[in-house]
């Protein structure tokens, strides 16, 4: 199994790369969206899954990336690539400036501070002339789903490789130590402040790039869609559902949950969201450590796995 995994991944990657030439346009469009969500979940995994900081502020980076591309292309007539760079630069600056004070907060306080920051950013952009205020910006239309697809796939691959590197590097190990016990990590020589800010920045870069690509693809952004809090919740759900702190968990979680909600929403949209809510509640109760942990342990323990989880976590 261990030997086969790389081979299997290469085959899957090959099929995914060829997808636009095999599949119909609806599937490709669904895939672009799913790839974006997977990239966002993978970005969240760096700060949330590895460092253990439940960020509700990753949608800020998504928004900065979206507006970077939109403003560059619409207001300044710059090419798409320059827009992506602008978005990344602003995201990095934001992560460095806000990361230091906000990452001093722990637990729920960090979660709420980032949540509030994303509301502030949304409100600021809805007052900026250059960002089209409340109305938003319309980007030039580029009809090439193949290009957007390959870009999104490439970004997800880079994000996943980065997380793979994290999982076996000194830096990643330090982040895990912070997640497990920040005081102990600090007293054992981990520069916790720098590590947390770096993780936040790294997560921000991927979210920002995903936002930039998404803005050009969807050709329209406004403050509500760019700094969408429910998008942030989606990343968390996908990463946590898949297995936070693992390499492939967030990608699998994003793929599965996107597929489920796509299948359901084609029948009845409100029932689909109801189901989404129920899935979250049940998944959190039955497999609090995510899909990857379930995947590893369920074959060994069988149905007792779920009972064991409840026993271990209930009051």
């Amino acid at each position: 199994m261990k030997r086969l995994l790389p081979l299997l991944l290469i085959i899957i990657l090959g099929v995914l790369t060829a997808l636009p030439w095999i599949a119909g346009p609806t599937l490709v469009q669904f895939a672009i969206n799913a790839l974006m969500l997977a990239t966002l979940a993978q970005g969240w995994n760096i700060i949330g899954g590895f460092a253990g900081y439940a960020s509700f502020g990753n949608s800020i980076f998504f928004g900065l990336g979206s507006y970077g591309v939109a403003i560059a292309m619409v207001q300044w007539n710059l090419p798409f690539g320059v827009g992506l760079v602008i978005g990344v630069v602003f995201s990095v600056l934001f992560a460095l400036a806000m990361g230091v004070p906000v990452l001093r907060l722990r637990g729920h306080y960090f979660a709420i501070a980032t949540l509030a920051l994303s509301q502030v950013m949304s409100a600021i952009f809805s007052n900026l002339d250059i960002a089209g205020r409340n109305i938003g910006l319309v980007l030039p239309l580029l009809r090439s789903d193949t290009l957007f697809y390959e870009l999104s796939l490439g970004l997800l691959v880079i994000a996943t490789l980065t997380v793979f590197w994290l999982s076996r590097s000194r830096f990643g190990f330090g982040l895990i130590a912070i997640r497990e016990n920040e005081d102990a990590a600090q007293s054992m020589g981990v520069n916790t402040t720098r590590y947390k800010v770096l993780a936040f920045t790294l997560a921000g870069i991927f979210s920002s790039l995903a936002g930039g690509i998404h803005a050009y693809w969807i050709t329209f952004i406004d403050p509500n869609s760019a700094f969408d809090l429910s998008l942030n919740v989606k990343m968390i759900i996908m990463a946590v559902f898949g297995g936070p702190g693992s390499v492939l968990g967030p990608v699998i979680g994003a793929a599965l949950l996107s597929a489920i909600s796509e299948l359901l929403s084609s029948t009845l949209s409100s029932v689909a969201s109801l189901f989404f809510g129920v899935v979250i509640v049940i998944a959190v109760i039955l497999m609090p450590k995510g899909l990857t942990d379930c995947w590893l342990r369920f074959p060994v323990t069988g149905w007792r796995y779920f009972i064991h989880n409840i026993r271990q976590h209930r009051l």
Binding site: G48, A54, P101, V102, R104, L105, G107, H108, Y109, A111, I112, A113, L115, A116, L117, Q119, V120, S122, A123, I124, S126, N127, R133, N134, L229, V233, I236, I237, V240, P244, S270, V271, S273, L274, F276, G277, V278, V279, I280, V281, V284, I285, P288, I310, Q312, H313, R314, L315
Partner: protein, 287 residues
Amino acid sequence: MDLLFQVIVNGLLLGGLYALMALGLALVWGVLNIVNLAHGALIMLGGYAAYYLFTLLGIDPFLALPLVMMMLFVLGYILQRYVLSLIARSPMFNTLLITFGLDVIFMVLAQLLFTADFRTINPSYAGTHVTWFNLTFPTVQLFSFAVAMCLTVGLWLMMLHTRIGRAIRATAQNLSAARLYGVNPKQIYALTFGIGAALAGAAGDLYGVVSQITPYIGATLTAKCFAIAIIGGLENPLGVIVGGVLLALIESLTALYVGPTFVDVASFGVLVLVLIIRPQGLLGKTA
């Protein structure tokens, strides 16, 4: 100048309701260490309960308060006893996620059962007001302010002077010590969550009278409650009054002097600043 005073009066009256909205969230957070993302949805459900009691049975929303609170208490008690207690020792993400899941479920159910139409509870005295010193005090706002204050102070007194209140505070301080004194934590947790939900229900009832209810108000209300609870601090129910009034004043003064589109910049900006500078809340003890 009159305008400024009127805006301050409106802010104060609204602040009372804000305090009541956040009171249950702060209680559950402080005692159970659960940040309940479905708190706004519970407020929304309270609003609908009061709306239907009024339109179908003709019960005045202020008289319906005990009834609405009972209904939400039962819902909250069941939620904690049979759902949330299952993950009491899970990592923090999981509590956030499960309450978010509940938020989605309540929202969709409300949309299916009550439709997405705007609802307002309109008793005969809605629209009347009293005038003191050239300032207008709308009757329903004045009533709801008074009720909100009574409930907040009532909770404070209950926590200080009743057996249940002491048991809840003991549980918040130290779960295993509380167990030693014969407190059943499952019971106390469920009771606390039930009380939190009942307070949300009361807030929803009043909210339906002074504003409009839709299935979608939950998330915004939850965010506001965070701001209020954090500005006021979690230690003391009276802090929530300060938080509520401050937030309402900040909102109305920003809307007046800077512009209505800057309200969120100001209110959430203050929240971020308070978190960074004084995470224990404006009234909390220094570490």
